[in-house]
């Protein structure tokens, strides 16, 4: 079974399975680096999925769908920002309600689109390069969002650790009182970070309904938002590790399916739990070194900020 074709097929499906996790997680990473814990990723994703699907269906253009998905995620995250940043509600509770709201809202908005075949985002073959045997289709024959996901990770890594803006974001997440004393608007920075996270979550949802599958059904995110949240912790808030984690998670998920299809005598329930087991193992390994874990965790994560007036 381990012919080149099968290996190539595994890698291709692995990329599709990992991309939405990566996109959603990298957005949440930025929000958390700014000190905001938004547990509403799943809710923003599902609203992104339905909005992207609906807009694509209306216009026939999946790229407009992508924009709609991002916009929907951003709008929902502004609501989250307003509640937690302006009204200082509890971030955990608000995030959870955002997920519930998102699931309900998406179900309502999408009720008329259920069972309608959608338009699929086409692969973007790069001429000549995608014809290279084996690696061509893998590296140069993906849909645009796969490239976007890599660009996003690189961009976030660069901005967070190599620019002044990144320094401010991290300062706000690390010690909001000091950042405020230095004259930075903690609330504004957090709003923007939360909106970035929302946009990414919406885009990840759009990926599910436009590229992963081309249909809209209720609950189609199926917990991927929660996995994205876990990946952020898994990565100890570092974009490079996040890329690794998302692909590890995607790989384990896809491999277990191939192992089953190949008929290896391993219980399927065990195989299905492998991605989660892998997450736990890596979390344990990472947190064994407490000092590292602590330095990377934004110190003000989840803490509300009320500026003195």
């Amino acid at each position: 079974m381990a012919s080149l074709d099968v290996i190539q097929a595994i890698i291709l499906t692995l990329i599709t399975a990992s991309t939405p996790l990566l996109i959603a997680a990298v957005g949440e990473l930025v929000a958390e680096r700014a000190g905001v814990l938004n547990l509403g990723v799943e809710g923003m994703m599902i609203v992104g999925a339905v909005s992207g699907f609906a807009a694509t269906l209306q216009t026939g253009n999946p790229y407009i769908g992508i924009l709609a998905a991002i916009l929907a995620g951003v709008l929902l995250s502004i609501l989250f920002g307003f509640l937690t940043l302006s009204l200082v509600t509890n971030q955990v509770a608000t995030g959870l309600s955002l997920t519930l709201l998102g699931l309900g809202l998406a179900g309502m908005l999408g009720s008329s689109f259920v069972g309608t075949p959608g338009v699929k985002l086409q692969k973007l073959d790069i001429p000549f390069l995608s014809d290279i045997p084996f690696i061509g289709p893998i590296l140069f024959g993906q849909d645009i969002l796969v490239y976007v996901s890599f660009a996003l990770v690189a961009l976030v890594a660069y901005v967070l650790f190599r620019t002044r803006i990144g320094l401010i974001v991290r300062a706000v997440g690390e010690n909001h009182t000091s950042a405020h004393a230095l004259g930075y608007s903690v609330i504004r920075v957090r709003y923007l970070a939360v909106m970035f996270g929302g946009g990414c979550a919406g885009l990840a949802g759009g990926y599910l309904s436009l590229a992963y599958t081309s249909l809209w059904v209720e609950d189609m995110t199926a917990g991927r938002g929660w996995i994205a949240l876990a990946l952020v912790v898994f990565s100890s808030w570092l974009p490079g590790r996040l890329l690794l984690g998302a692909y590890l998670f995607g790989a384990v998920g896809i491999l277990q399916i191939h192992v089953q299809a190949a008929g290896w005598p391993i219980p399927s329930q065990f195989l299905s739990s492998l991605p989660y087991l892998a997450t736990i193992v890596v979390l344990v390994v990472i947190s064994r070194n407490r000092a590292v874990a602590r330095t990377n965790t934004p110190a003000c994560l989840g803490q509300p900020f009320v500026p003195d007036r």
Binding site: T13, K120, L208, V217, E218, A222, I257, H258, Q260, G263
Partner: protein, 356 residues
């Protein structure tokens, strides 16, 4: 003047009384759904049944439903609410509603209950289910004729008898025309996860399956089949619009006739607690149009379905061997319902192990 007013008042009272008694005459029918009506699968088909009742009986009935009822403690509350609101007939449409249904039925002896896919009955609780395996046998036969790689990909949800029975029936159907048939099974451990179902379909095709069938609820595997240029079967509903070139046919859960019949029984006053496990014969399992098939394959499939319907052919007719070679039943006999309902083994020829 006073007289006229009196007459008017009397007429009014009469009118009101008449309409009130009309309302009381309406048979109130309630449904408890486990999923959203828009799932395009299990719950969708049950709701079609509800609409069929409304269409058939019009003003004589009034139906209502509660969707997305989880199979935990909420179910009992939801069922009891419908009973309290004066529903005369209540359909609870998922296996997990069995115990709550029995419990509420005890409290409301005058209300009639119908529970789908369960095995506990009472004087006012009927059970009903469908012999989907009859349809799967036909799918298997088609697959056996259409496959060029002799390999079929089967996307399965959970290793419960219902699903195992489907895999076995499918395999027996395939073997009846093609003894070399292989089935690759992937358990996704979910009824509904379009992404995972799509991944499973891709993996099966990558490993050589050229026909995909599923016992999960989303149309995602069909879309993958359409994209990759292989064939597939629809599940629970006709899914042709998702895969106009790939779908060969689909098993359709048809509750409409049963629901209409049971409603009629209540209206006629002869409803009694029963256990119905219906198949082709009772129109509870239908096949979607046979498309993308050569004429002779479609004709053979129709013929097989007709033979199953008439009772001439039983999908689980002997001789049947288990995977390890032990014989379950000999020539000339067929498996009884009890064995079918508790099936936890693969028939001979299926690769891989059944998760226990």
């Amino acid at each position: 003047m006073r007289k006229i007013l009196g007459i008017a008042a009397a007429a009014l009272a009469l009118g009101l009384g008449a309409s009130a008694s009309l309302a009381a005459d309406k048979l109130k029918i309630g449904f408890i759904y486990v999923g959203p009506v828009g799932d395009h699968g299990w719950t969708y088909q049950h709701n079609e049944g509800r609409l069929a009742i409304e269409k058939k009986f019009g003003d004589k009935v009034e139906t209502s439903f509660v969707e997305n009822v989880s199979e935990g403690p909420d179910a009992e509350r939801a069922i009891e609410r419908l009973a309290r609101e004066g529903h005369d007939l209540i359909f609870t449409t998922s296996f997990g509603f069995m115990n709550p249904t029995i419990k509420v039925a005890k409290k409301f002896p005058k209300v009639k209950f119908e529970h789908a896919t369960g095995y506990k009955r009472a004087k006012n609780v009927s059970t009903y289910s469908s012999r989907f395996y009859e349809g799967r046998y036909v799918l298997g036969e088609i697959a056996g004729k259409m496959s060029k790689t002799n390999t079929i990909g089967y996307i399965a949800s959970f290793p419960i008898p219902e699903v195992v029975r489907g895999i076995n029936a499918f395999m027996l159907g395939a073997q009846s025309v093609n003894p070399d048939m292989k089935v690759k099974v992937i358990w996704v451990n979910s009824w509904f996860d379009p992404g995972k179902e799509a991944d499973a379909a891709k993996a099966l095709i990558d490993q050589g399956a050229d026909i995909i069938t599923q016992h999960t609820d989303s149309p995602a595997p069909l879309q993958v089949a359409e994209e990759r240029g292989v064939y597939a079967f629809g599940q629970a509903s006709d899914m042709i619009k998702f895969a106009p070139k790939a779908q060969l046919t689909a098993i359709i859960d048809n509750w409409n006739d049963y629901y209409v019949a049971r409603t009629k029984a209540v209206l006629d006053g002869n409803w009694a607690s029963e256990d119905v496990w219906g198949g082709f014969k009772d129109d509870m399992v239908d096949m979607a149009a046979y498309t993308n098939l050569p004429e002779d394959v479609a004709a053979a499939a129709k013929d097989t379905a007709a033979k199953i319907e008439s009772g001439e052919l039983h999908p689980f007719k002997g001789p049947i061997f288990k995977q390890d070679g032990t014989q379950v039943i000999g020539e000339g006999e067929s498996l009884d319902d009890g064995t079918l309902l508790g099936m936890n083994w693969y028939v001979k020829g299926i690769d891989g192990q059944l998760p226990q």
